[in-house]
Symmetry: C2
Subunit: 286 residues, 2 copies
Amino acid sequence: MAKKPEKLWKTPVDDALRWVRGTDLTALDQSATPGWSGKKADGEELMAARGPELAELQERLFAHGRTGGDRSVLLVLQGLDTAGKGGIVRHVVGMVDPQGVQHRGFGVPTEEERQHDYLWRVRNALPRPGYLGVFDRSHHEQVLVVRVNQLEPPETWRTHFRELNEFEAEVAASGTLIVKVALMVSADEQKARLAERLERPDKHWKYNPGDIDVRTKLPEYLAAYQEMLDRTSTEVAPWYVVPADRKWYARLAVTELLTGALRSLDLGWPPADFDVETEKARLAAS
Amino acid sequence: MAKKPEKLWKTPVDDALRWVRGTDLTALDQSATPGWSGKKADGEELMAARGPELAELQERLFAHGRTGGDRSVLLVLQGLDTAGKGGIVRHVVGMVDPQGVQHRGFGVPTEEERQHDYLWRVRNALPRPGYLGVFDRSHHEQVLVVRVNQLEPPETWRTHFRELNEFEAEVAASGTLIVKVALMVSADEQKARLAERLERPDKHWKYNPGDIDVRTKLPEYLAAYQEMLDRTSTEVAPWYVVPADRKWYARLAVTELLTGALRSLDLGWPPADFDVETEKARLAAS
């Protein structure tokens, strides 16, 4: 290949995917590859090449946390069933040391969780200093599934937009860099992925009859996503909308967003908090 | 290579490493490769080949947990500083989907942890059904660092052996398969690894002047390990003692122990709890 693959971003990924308030979500092409001028093979090459850098950046963050630093990163993954959240975790997050990852999936609230405010379980799962936190679904479900299924009256869920923003501002102020990714899959691609889950016995466990009910409410979900994006994409917790029909693109894009986020922390290796020469002498004598 | 690399185990790894009560720990050769007749390159080849199988076994466990199953696996890693616990997490646990891993490191107890029984924080970190739990250090520190540093009087820490066994019997009865690994590094190899941490600025954060204090107490630590192994290696929670001077061997051995543990659960893909044909029709119509 003549060009270095990273040169194939003709628009920086951050600019290509960052949500711009008021964009019409229904006009999104879920099979597009915004910003990327290369092919699938180029994307896979770049993603593989990013692995070592991503791992080192994550290790610097971890080292920072171990030596009193307060920074952490939170990757929020939202998307309908089959949008590929799990694949992002496996293939992107899987490139870094599991020791430094705090992964949490948010499903239907448990009995205990229901006895608290909806942010309670989210607060408990926030990444500690030095960690990469990964949320598979999140507090944003309060304006998605809760809204679409009318689990709360509008006068209640409407109050959540402001709460979500205040909550994230507080989390960001505590040292956590927030990267929110909405994976958008088309109705046709979703159908094909659900069909695969029904065809393959090793994928039956991933299928839920409720997935079809969600399909019948796609317009409502799109409207809910539209409002969520417009109202909760903020300076400190921006949304990135990632077309997800091409898995390789979605994984590449999240790899790049995460790499960029970690780079932006600009963390060097923590300096020794001991006298290196003294310790060398002690070690030699031990 | 003429032989398939797994044939290079001349003694099954489980037999080669499972602790036999009364064995003299001070006679252990930390640079040995028990059971393995191959070379480093063979070991690396086998470990790489195990990756996909280990990932599938872990996914079956995860699927089992998602569909009401109660099984989980807990990998307990003990070892002195530089024994390679972190490398095991990165290179062995790193081969499976981070979504299914619950990793927890146990350091000096926090203020909150100190206000509870020493098993409190351990109970809170136990793997949920379907998960692979990984403990970097564990409840066994109560008969290691606590004993060696005389943080409790002997009449107190001596009661812990029985408590540890009762606790683990209870955990095992709840569905958790426990695999306990003690990584044993020689004093010379430890010295070389600490020297590297002092040489390389990107490793300074891993160095702690207290590591030298531990070195001065190696005989006491060995005695504590000996008694811990003899008294807490049980049918339901056996200890495997892994010579750890050769990192490739330690990683291979833990890969094999973990693969064997997951295989022994004998979990198939969960059957569909819905009618597949009905769902295909619903999907087609959606």
